[in-house]
């Protein structure tokens, strides 16, 4: 199988005179995803992983994958030194690799009369390598997309930059304009103070720690009250077992992510979103919500409700597909719903009977059923919950 050109691998050094760089490169890669560390964080037990990788591991199993010590995502701390090592190595990598392969080719050419090209594909001409264009080698992987030399062109790649709390330098957009800390409108620096008077009325008691407008409303629905220059607020973990399905569904739509599917899928999707979001909070150059939503969509198609292949949700995919016909489903399962509702009502009736004389006794389920009939649609979920 051919190596996809956009994936770099430590084994690439092995065919060059610099084979000793293979273990160095391996050390700069996450043991979970095997990519270069992306927003490395350190655990309580002092192991380093990509922020997203360790968050996924911890939400799956609560343990450090390296030593299996218990840990919590709240205890993760950024590991900037490793980030800098990775950034520097990745910047140098294409040139060093090319240089090393070139040396190997020359040695080979000297050894043989007829220069035989190695199997490895190489850049056609060395002149192209004069400029260390980072995209020439393996720039597509997740870990590599964002970091090298972030100061050089942050505004070009992503104009809506959200600074991290640990980032001391202020973000100054290239157009020389400053964003209003409240409505995020761009203006000249001098104009900000007078402009701020406009907002004096709508100051909320608890300032939402939200971000630029590209993140949209996170948990505070007031769209106008967004702050730039503050780190995005992390999404807290939820105890899914105490949350009713509808409440969870609402939470998902408040977060702005798809909220279809059964509760187990909602739970998984929320966990994935929380991990994507909170890992993004660890990033020096956070992605926009749109990018995160795309990543969630990839998850949906590979591991979530739209996945095909061996996944826990496949057996019943027809219930979760986007094109799932809710009307068809509810009409074809109407009887089941009615039966469940009737059962639930029986149970409620049984509980109420001793307390109130007027409540119908459990021995009269049909009457009971017809009494509450008009509320069925509105309360169906609630009633079904009681039955379980």
């Amino acid at each position: 199988m051919d190596a996809p050109s956009d994936i770099s691998d430590p084994t690439q050094w092995l065919e060059t005179p610099l084979s000793l760089l293979a273990p160095l490169e391996s050390a700069l890669r996450c043991q979970v995803c095997k990519e270069f560390f992306d927003n490395p964080v350190i655990t309580s037990c002092c192991h380093t992983f990509c922020s997203l990788c360790i968050r996924r591991c911890l939400s799956a199993d609560g343990k450090c994958p390296a030593c299996r010590a218990q840990d919590q995502e709240l205890k993760l701390r950024r590991n900037w030194a490793v980030q800098e090592l990775v950034d520097a190595f990745q910047t140098a990598r294409p040139r060093v690799l090319e240089f090393s392969m070139e040396t190997a080719r020359q040695a080979q050419a000297e050894n043989r009369e007829e220069p035989v090209h190695k199997k490895r594909k190489v850049a056609p001409a060395e002149e192209h390598i004069q400029v260390p264009e980072p995209s020439s080698e393996g720039r597509r992987t997740r870990s590599q997309r964002h970091h090298p030399q972030p100061e050089e062109h942050p505004a070009i790649e992503n104009p809506q930059i959200i600074e991290d709390s640990q980032d001391e330098e202020e973000y100054i957009p290239e157009d020389g304009l400053v964003a209003c800390p409240i409505c995020n409108r761009k203006m000249k620096e001098e104009a900000v103070f007078s402009h701020l008077n406009i907002h004096q009325g709508d100051e909320s008691p608890k300032k939402p720690q939200s971000t630029s407008s590209s993140f949209g409303p996170l948990r505070a629905p007031q769209k106008s009250l967004v702050f730039s220059g503050k780190p995005p607020e992390r999404i807290p973990a939820i105890n899914y077992s105490i949350l009713k399905e509808n409440a969870l569904r609402k939470k998902l739509s408040d977060l702005g992510i798809p909220n279809w599917g059964p509760k187990q899928l909602l739970h998984k999707r929320h966990t994935e979103w929380m991990n994507l979001w909170n890992a993004n909070c660890d990033s020096k150059i956070p992605k926009s919500k749109r990018e995160l939503l795309q990543e969630l969509d990839i998850w949906e198609r590979t591991q979530g409700g739209l996945a095909t292949g061996p996944s826990p949700f496949v057996s019943s995919t027809n219930v979760m597909r986007k094109d799932f016909d809710a009307k068809e489903w509810s009409s074809s399962h109407d009887d089941d719903f009615r039966r469940l509702i009737a059962n639930a009502r029986k149970k409620v009736g049984a509980k109420m009977a001793p307390a109130t004389e007027t409540a119908p006794t459990p021995s009269e389920p049909p009457a009971n059923g017809s009494l509450v009939e008009p509320n069925i649609d509105a309360d169906a979920d609630h009633v079904i919950d009681l039955s379980g």
């Binding site: 199988m1 190596a3 084994t11 095997k34 990519e35 591991c57 199993d61 299996r68 990839i298 591991q303």
Partner: protein
């Protein structure tokens, strides 16, 4: 084709296994269209009744790999071994997710973790061939024979090996 975390991770593992294969082990995806389905060949360890045999197995990876472990199944006749089900499915601790221990005998440290790898699985399977673990056998008959009638067990294994090689 290689775009998700699982696929990239499997690609790196494949790359590493094909440049640096452990002795007696070959493994890789059957087709580049599906990184989640691999085939592996394992040589029978020396100085065991499995010596001389070459055993093919399939590995199926879940979409959330490496959070969950793959499954491994010997194909083509299966293997007479206490820790291999009669249908060929391998039952060893490294293939069990850390969270569940249906057998209540494995230490968490022996079980799957995202930093384990295909290479480690295959090495573990090789050493399992040499040293069965009869605490929780997958093949009770084989385990009994191994425990009580070792010579018969070894003869049967050697027989299977010969059959497997078409002799």
């Amino acid at each position: 084709m290689v775009s998700t975390v699982a696929q990239k991770r499997l690609f790196h593992e494949y790359k590493n296994l094909s440049t640096n294969p452990p002795e007696g082990i070959t493994a890789g995806p059957v087709s580049e269209d599906d990184m989640f389905y691999w085939e592996a060949l394992i040589q029978g360890p020396e100085e065991t009744p499995f010596e001389g045999g070459v055993f093919a197995a399939e590995l199926k990876f879940p979409r959330d790999y490496p959070l969950s472990p793959p499954t491994m199944k010997f194909i083509g006749g299966g293997i007479w071994h206490p820790n291999v089900y009669p249908n060929g499915t391998v039952c060893i601790s490294i293939l069990h997710p850390p969270g569940d221990d249906p057998n209540h005998y494995e230490h968490a440290s022996e079980r799957w973790s995202p930093i384990q790898s295909v290479e480690k699985i295959l090495i573990s399977v090789m050493s399992m061939l040499a040293e069965p673990n009869d605490e929780s056998p997958a093949n009770v008959e084989a385990a009994k024979m191994w425990r009580e009638r070792r010579q018969e067990y070894e003869a049967k294994v050697r027989d299977e090996v010969k059959k497997g090689l078409g002799l």
